[in-house]
Symmetry: C2
Subunit: 308 residues, 2 copies
Amino acid sequence: MNSVTVHSPATVSNLGCGFDVLGLALGAPYDVVKVSRRAEPGVSIRHLDGFGLPTEPTRNVAGVALLALLAALPEPMGFEVEITKGIRPGSGIGSSAASAVGAVVGANALLGNRYSKAQLVDFAMAGEEIASGARHADNIAPAVYGGFTLVRAMEPSIDIVALAAPPLWVSIVHPQIEVKTIESRAVLPQAVPLPQAVRQWANVAGLVAGFLQANYALIGRSLEDVIVEPARQALIPGLAEARRRSLAAGAIGGGISGSGPSIFMLSETEATAQAVGRELSSVFEGLHIESFTYVGPVATEGARVVAR
Amino acid sequence: MNSVTVHSPATVSNLGCGFDVLGLALGAPYDVVKVSRRAEPGVSIRHLDGFGLPTEPTRNVAGVALLALLAALPEPMGFEVEITKGIRPGSGIGSSAASAVGAVVGANALLGNRYSKAQLVDFAMAGEEIASGARHADNIAPAVYGGFTLVRAMEPSIDIVALAAPPLWVSIVHPQIEVKTIESRAVLPQAVPLPQAVRQWANVAGLVAGFLQANYALIGRSLEDVIVEPARQALIPGLAEARRRSLAAGAIGGGISGSGPSIFMLSETEATAQAVGRELSSVFEGLHIESFTYVGPVATEGARVVAR
């Protein structure tokens, strides 16, 4: 086998109260990443999409992730990568994580799956680091594991927990406004009053219990973020109305996806999620802001090989 | 039926990272609370123990809890209460919560169990309030529900989640030092740096997942408190050594019980918990501080009627 094609999913990180630690994988959109062995050691990247992303391996998230994998590999090896991004860069649904994960999952398949999921997360984080300036696994982890994931710790070693959950549908709207990661970081409070922090971890506990006990109402009540969303909501016009109308249409809850500008909402059924998607579209139409909407189930699988 | 006797358990609140929201019920020690109907409306309290607690109903936690229950009752009624405390006041293992819960569970049995567990928590909190100055449910909830509990929210209404968990044994040491609640509150930080808050809620998420996935190792790793224990450890001599020796003896983790001075440790088996209990005793013997040690399983049931 000399070539594999991987579908690598979009992901929602933060999940309301679970800032920096919780995430989920989407069925769609996804990046298509084709990884082939090549004779010369090293990595080459080609983008078959029109987003104008850098293709120099040391400046490309998939390239850097593969270089990290190659650095750990005892034998010299080379990979050629073709990426067709289905996930728009800057959308706040894990675009860079998807490309990085797709590349290392593809390479790992060509290597007979010698690396564990935890190791793939580690390689992919090197890619994420050049995109966001920080080693974060909150989009990488769900892109590798699928479903819902908790990144419990990064130190002393990375500790990822996959969380079972009842079937859930996700409605995402990506309004065409730019929210720079640096700006969305700058508005975060440096410190949090203890009572707010307690309320946040009570909600995180409720959300995890809601997933594992398959309790939709508890999931909904726990999707409350008293710290990050209040700080960031001014960066995303329409957020409050999007939430109000989504809940009225039957969504169980939601919030900002990643650092925005996308907004996610969870629903129990596809029909509700479709109705919520229409509300989300309509909110931004009313604001004269172009937007893209995605509706699909939480993906139980992460990035996977679809062709060899 | 005119009289019931209730065993109402000691409880551990906070549970490391779960400050103010997580708790567990112990099999022992417990308060014995006998509640009888009486002809005249109102409440009378008698203590059969030697702790010198107030018996005036408005100054006694069980009395205040029963008065709250009576205030909600449409018909006039009266109760006589006899309390034999098995839980030493000021120990940090929910002594006042146990008496308050025992009284309302007993009265509820005499009323044909007309109140839900959530309502009993509400009545008992009125008692807890006069003991601690705050409406807290983190000892009350496990004393009513048994097992592990999450108090997800107090507002707009109280939201308690019972958390299934694998069998766990608890070793508790109660060193005979006084830690005043007001003092242990005063050392708490008013605000928490955001990265520490994130680490704490990641651990809370890991702890809840560890319980519900019956993953002992995850429970152990998640029993890390980066906020409250560092602030309070100076109030409890021997804490660091107690932890070190408990882990060496096989405990999976632990921390300060409530606001101290008691320390709790969790173990997978009774044999380990007994060994951990001996280590805990020995730490305080070495410090020439008298202490009481309790070893027992997490109780799956809360306060219960044992005789009618």
